[in-house]
Symmetry: C2
Subunit: 273 residues, 2 copies
């Protein structure tokens, strides 16, 4: 099995190490890439092609894993050279995925979305995939990957990821807003405790970690929610997602981000102006 | 132990049956009450006084459980007659509770809030209580009640309940909005399934029940959220709670409420215009 990567950031380097261990030939190309990407690719056994054309011609499965803004551009580089299956694994909207995969000439395309943390789960992180060649892509499960096919259409996997993200980020905003009001009244611990009655035993721990993470990364959450809101507008006015976006925008503007991630949500609240 | 009830709706009648079984003397007064209230009070053993003055003079603990709009008015009826402890158990804002309890002349007051369903849990339903006489009120735990004292100030128990409500109703709105978009794209089941990865094992069941209940009662949720938003404005702009209110307002205006509560959230979505 020959797997190529366009882009060689955290995802590609983590997957490469795992795939190499499972006997897969791993390829990439470093033409025009950043110093950091080149550094990432110095993994024993990754074969480096000099051009994207060669990379695309020699990969049975070619995975695009770049910064979201580059997703379409890199697909253009290989659109008429990709011999095998082209997988867009970028964190982009269903619209962008469809537009991107549409230009791959042989039509062997897959929309793939990572659910969860690559850092924590490595090669075994959950991936959902849709599109005409999703089943074939999922054969990489024989080599240690954890791919679930969710449908035949490009765009479905990305839409599921984006809607999941709308929910989880909305819950974080709701927690921060509700508990912050409790904090101002001096009853934040009690509020959390009485919410936990209906929310299950891990609620207190997960609520704290959600508030810390969402508060600390409020600016990134703002950018992510902009994409969610863009997508949802097409169907029905997204009251909750729009509020989530506005909440994180407000938070990132009124929050002195500390250099290190705090351990407790109260530290986040103390840093709000 | 002598416990009096002002108002005799579902809460008072359920608690009365339980308290009588535990050897408590239960009193009420039906002066000026509705036919339904009078009907509720026909429980063997409940002693009915002819005036609120007499009721207040003879109760060691006097519990006010009326419609929210009446909370202050009924306190006025007994403000200088209440001999024992006066408990406001109405679903009102912390501001209203404070204003109401302030007029009880002997100052023996308690702010109490029911967390959960009286219908399901009977006398054992969780009650949180704050205020100067909350500890004394919690002695009713010896007679089958389930009271937790959360603080010394009137208003705290109501604020905890209201913030808890802001969170749980916000989650319901977030679920309805997110899953509705998935429904429109034909991927609602997948969206729920992939959210459940991080939300625990009961997520699918609780999400369905939350969506059905919140959709079916969208109008009531709108009214409840108006009170939440009113309270939160005093502290910081409530992005998420305001969106929750607007979401339920939109939903109650664009939803043909069925005569019976549906079993599945998809039935709710089909009834949206």
């Amino acid at each position: 099995m020959q797997v190529g990567f366009i882009g060689f950031g955290e995802v590609a380097s983590t997957f490469s190490i795992g795939l190499l261990e499972n006997g897969v030939d791993v390829y990439t190309c470093l033409e025009g890439r950043s110093a950091r990407t080149v550094e990432n690719a110095r993994i024993n056994g990754v074969k480096i092609y000099n051009s994207y054309k060669e990379l695309a011609e020699n990969s049975e499965i070619l995975i695009s894993s770049v910064v979201p803004a580059m997703a379409f551009e890199v697909a253009e580089l290989v659109s008429n050279h990709s011999r095998g299956i082209y997988v867009d694994m970028n964190n982009v909207s269903p619209e962008t995925v469809k537009k991107t995969l549409h230009i791959i000439e042989n039509g062997k395309t897959v929309d793939a979305a990572i659910i969860g943390s690559v850092l924590k789960n490595g090669l075994g992180v959950k991936i959902i995939a849709s599109g005409p060649f999703a089943d074939e892509f999922s054969e990489l499960n024989d080599y240690g990957m954890n791919i679930t096919v969710v449908g035949p259409e490009n765009g479905d996997a990305s839409a599921i990821k984006l809607l999941r993200s709308a929910y989880t980020k909305g819950v974080s905003a709701l927690l921060l807003e509700t508990v912050y009001h409790g904090f101002k009244m001096g009853i934040d611990r009690e509020v959390l405790e009485y919410i936990s009655i209906t929310e299950g035993e891990n609620f207190l721990e997960s609520a704290n970690s959600r508030m810390v993470s969402a508060g600390f990364h409020a600016k990134r959450r703002t950018q992510e929610m902009e994409e969610v809101v863009d997508m949802l507008y097409k169907y029905q006015y997204p009251f909750m997602s729009k509020a989530t976006l506005e909440f994180f925008k407000f938070m990132s503007q009124n929050f002195k981000k500390p250099s290190e991630r705090p351990k407790n949500y109260t530290e986040i609240f103390k840093l709000l102006y």
